[in-house]
Amino acid sequence: MTLLMIHSISPLLIVAFGIVLSLLLIAWRRSQKLILAFTLTIFVCAMLASISLMMNLTDAMQVTILMKVDNYGNFAFILILAASLAVGLLSTAWLTHSVEVHDEFFILLQLVVLGAGILVMSDHFASLFLGFELLSIALVGMVGYSRDSQYSVESSFKYLILSATASSFMLLGIAFIYSQSGSLSFATDLLSSNEVSPVISLFHHAGVLLFLIGVAFKLSLAPFHFWTPDVYQGAPTSVTLLLATVSKVAMFVVLMKFWFSQPSLFIQPIVSNGNTLSTFNFMSIFAILSMLVGNTLALKQQNIKRLLAYSSIAHMGYLLIVLMVLSPQSVVLAWQSALFYLSAYVLATVSLFMVLQLTQNNSCNTELNVDDWQGLFWQKRSLAMLVIVAVLSLAGIPLTMGFIGKFYLLNVAFYAQQWWLIAALIIGSGIALVYYLGIIFALFNTSSIDQHNGNYRPLKLKPLVNASVVTLVAFGVALGLYPELLSQIFINF
């Protein structure tokens, strides 16, 4: 363990120490403001550390066999931290509603971030497992955090049991892989020189498959998506945001790391090699199913959280396209695409949940439907603009980041000649427009403003909130118009 290594995992260490310090802080003084400020400080510090690391790091850095720090992971961690900052900020608004002091919430938040951080840095099944479980179990706590809510038990139970099932699938897969390869590192493969019996190689394949199923569950890829809407809906809004962003980003990045470190990926072209062929095929199936099923399910959905849950299924399906690379040269493009798309996705999701949280506070209604946003454009323009930019970004319409993200994805798909995926992407986008435009049209709908006026308190935003809304809009549009701001960063990785 050299100093350099310690430097390179400093962001993780900062968060980890932050957790310990927070515990001490709680022991010292229970104050929500304090713990919030502390948590945010930790995140900002970790972020700064990551940024400085990103600027100094020129090449991937192996930290023990467990972790491999590279700039892709770093960037993903920055994304995670940014999303977590948003979660922290949003949750205060919600937590202040109750009398209790909710220090634990922030500890759990930090734990989630730590788990996510370990995931994005991991290069080994053990670290993956650790990060995964840290993330999951902390999240279970957060999903069920608001005990008074009618759905808390249900959604957290669903999340707990299904997630545990999925992780045992994954673990079994890891065990199978390990049994055949003798190593828990991502980069090891079946010893291709040895003669392998069919049964043995079958275990290896099954292992990979089971592992992928575990990941697919977390990414809520179809057909493992069932939990998503229920948990999204039942969880507190800020936790849903966490589920939608942090856990997705972390899992996806680790999936990419695993995927691209598979030596067999490029050894032989996709023809004839059983392993590559089938995993490729499985991933394509997951991707196509997710795009179609996610978008179809979202079609007539009225509950905004459920709608976003379904749409996130589709988005993860789109993202899977980046895994379909045929040559090592395209891996760079794949990483860039994935990170750009994830950034766009995180930005849009954060924006939407922010508006969701703000309007929720306003209408004292935790079950927001699309209709509840009717006429928002004429009431609170900045919020509505934020929704519009975010939704357009999700829909992949130019002027927004989402379009550039989709452009990246199509590029990758074209290089990989994945026509079926392209077709599914186009069809999925077409279906998605129905509900995305439905949201936007609702914002402009004037017909029911008068009826709703009774329920709505006039929206008054604090200047700070207003400023952040405007900043988010500006970010979304600026990065959509001039993606170089972001993509230039990737170039140097």
């Binding site: 669903k158 049991i161 069919p198 069932f226 004839s272 095929n281």
Partner: protein, 634 residues
């Protein structure tokens, strides 16, 4: 531009009515009757005077006068010269005849119309349309290329549409106007296709150049001229209300009577005749088509004559008679007797305009009663009109001495030994003449003889203008024959002379031809004797099925309705919601169904979710097995 005086006159000739049209439309009802009448009639008079001036400039030495106004557009294909389509006027013997008819008769009818329509609240609009019609018609006959001709062609169609539907509040008029426009449009489309074909073959639209090129490139009986001539014939048939596109003309009588006189008797309907005469160079290269023209003309003249026998509306009798007379012209063209056809066109314009206008005067006096069975006894009550109408009918029947006699005899005389006609058609023509005199007599007896059968008091118009124009037309109809030589002379430069076949013409040909109308008169004198009597019982209009069939245009309307209109409407109604749209929306529906199905899979039951995960895993493992084992096997 350094145009000589006649050229300038020619260039301006069609535009006086245009100016009048613009002023009338622009000021609308703010113009008094006097102003409007002076404007429209005055502009017509200017055109008419200009026509006579320029026609007088034509001589044997310079039989052609052209004036180039501006370049309309150019059609350029690579590898060949660009064809310039100009707005240019071309005056030769044929167009001279036509402009004199159009502007001369047009002037008289305008005068009549100014008096006739005086009481109408939309008088200015009416006169404006009439003026616009004259503009389009003059452009049609003066055009030096087929595209400009087509402009006039469509223009007159539009004006005809507007004027038929002038009293637009009546549903029937509106429908008649629509029918007229659409039916002629079918012909126009054929003509347009003919134009495309012409251009592809010859790269030209200029009429003279076309004729020249055609004679250079093709020989008689080639395919190209056959198709082109056939398609042009389609246009002519539509405009001139010949079979099979004749159905619109009787309905077009819904328009005010001056319109019927001007457009649907004297000028527009003869545009088809003009077109064929104008394109004689092409038609002569396609003798089969000439033959078709002749047969079409013959068939139309017979069928229209038969239909005319059964009508009860005075204007519809005249309409069918017009069809029949144009049939003669077509027959004549088809037989290669171009001059005779054009001459008949002119005389027909005189007497048919006279007939229509007189009928109009009568109808006005009878409070818009057009039913022949509700007339009768007008001989005593309206002697002036009766006399004029009789003059018109005499010409129509082609009794010796009248203008119709000269022109019709000229046609009939050339049929027997024509290349493209023959004795059969001669017999048709003779039988047609017989029919003509029979229905003319029937009309005359019903309207003018016998007892009065109308209720209202007569209200004969006392307008001097009205009478003036009628008398002028009557004089023209009577003495029209004297133009025969002039026209023959001026047209001889336009049409090639065709050597007739050396058939033995029986010596009785001419006498039979002259006798035919008299036979018809005799026959009707006895056959329709009850129409002359005073017994009102005889005038009951209870037609037999056969008569009714004839009255309704020999079933053509019914046939087209059944064959074309109904299926089109049915198809339209059937597919009102757009089949393609429904196919596409089917996808949307399908996605909706998928949504419902998938949504029902989100049961909320945790155990089902877990089972689903297991199920999916199992499936995937199974496929994996199959795949890896099959790989092993291979």
């Amino acid at each position: 531009m350094t145009n000589s005086l006649p050229e300038t006159v020619l260039a301006l000739l069609p535009f006086y009515p245009l100016i009048s049209f613009l002023l009338l439309i622009g000021f609308g009802k703010r113009l008094s009757w006097h102003m409007a009448a002076i404007l429209s009639v005055g502009s017509m008079a200017l055109s008419a005077i200009s026509s006579f001036v320029v026609i007088n400039q034509l001589s044997v030495q310079s039989p052609i006068l052209t004036v180039h106004l501006w370049n309309w557009f150019e059609l350029g294909l690579e590898g060949s010269l660009t064809a310039k389509i100009n707005i240019s006027f071309y005056l030769d013997g044929l167009s001279a005849v036509m402009i004199s008819v159009v502007s001369g008769i047009g002037l008289l009818i305008h005068i009549f119309a100014a008096a006739y329509m005086k009481e109408d609240e939309n008088f200015t609009r009416f006169m404006a349309y009439m003026n616009l019609f004259i503009v389009a018609m003059l452009i049609l006959v003066l055009a030096d290329n087929l595209v400009l001709l087509y402009l006039g062609w469509e223009g007159v169609g539009l004006c005809s549409f507007l004027l038929i539907g002038f009293w637009y509040q009546e549903k029937a008029n509106v429908l008649a106007a629509r029918k007229a426009f659409i039916v002629t449009r079918v012909g126009d489309t054929a003509m347009a296709i003919g134009l495309f074909m012409l251009f592809k073959e010859l790269g030209q639209f200029n009429i003279n150049a076309l004729t020249e090129n055609a004679n250079m490139l093709w020989t008689v009986g080639d395919d190209a001229p056959y198709w082109i001539a056939l398609l042009l014939l389609g246009g002519a048939v539509g405009k001139s209300a010949q079979l099979p596109l004749q159905t619109w003309l009787p309905d077009a009588m819904a328009g005010p009577t001056p319109v019927s006189a001007l457009i649907h008797a004297a000028t527009m309907v003869t545009a088809g005749v003009y077109l064929i005469a104008r394109m004689n160079g092409i038609f002569l290269l396609a003798p089969e088509v000439m033959n078709y023209v002749a047969w079409l003309g013959a068939t139309t003249l017979l069928l229209a004559g038969i239909a005319a026998l059964a009508q009860n509306d005075i204007k519809r009798v005249l309409a069918y008679s017009t069809m029949s007379q144009i049939g003669y012209m077509m027959l004549s063209l088809g037989a290669g007797a171009f001059s005779a056809g054009v001459f008949h066109l002119m005389t027909h314009a005189f007497f048919k305009a006279l007939l229509f206008l007189t009928a109009g005067a009568i109808i006005l006096a009878l409070h818009h009663q057009q039913n022949l069975f509700k007339m009768g006894g007008l001989l005593k009550r309206l002697p002036f009109e009766t006399a004029l109408f009789a003059i018109g009918l005499v010409c129509l029947m082609a009794l010796p001495g009248s203008s119709g006699f000269f022109s019709k005899e000229a046609i009939i005389a050339q049929l027997w030994s024509s290349n493209t006609a023959g004795p059969m058609l001669w017999y048709c023509a003779i039988f047609g003449a017989l029919l003509t005199s029979i229905y003319s007599c029937r009309l005359f007896f019903l309207a003018f003889m016998g007892e009065k059968r109308f209720d209202h008091e007569l209200q004969p118009s006392s307008s001097k203008l009205l009478k003036l124009s009628l008398i002028a037309l009557a004089v023209l109809s009577l003495i029209g024959g004297i133009f025969a030589n002039t026209i023959e002379l001026s047209l001889s430069a336009v049409f090639p002379s065709i050597e007739p076949l050396n058939l033995d013409e029986p010596h009785w040909l001419h006498s039979v031809a002259i006798a035919a109308p008299f036979v018809g008169i005799l026959f009707s004198w006895f056959y329709f004797s009850n129409y002359r009597g005073s017994n009102k019982e005889n005038y009951q209009d209870n037609p037999s099925a056969l008569v009714l069939f004839c009255r309704l245009g020999l079933g053509f309307d019914r046939l087209y309705d059944l064959l074309l209109v109904k299926p089109y409407c049915y198809l339209a109604r059937l597919n009102k919601n757009d089949l393609f749209d429904q196919l596409i929306m089917l996808n949307a529906w399908y996605v909706g169904i998928c949504h419902d199905v998938l949504k029902s899979s989100q049961t909320g039951k945790l155990r089902w979710y877990a089972a689903a995960i297991g199920l999916a895993t199992l499936l995937l493992l199974l496929t994996l097995n199959i795949e890896s084992f099959s790989l092993e096997a291979s």
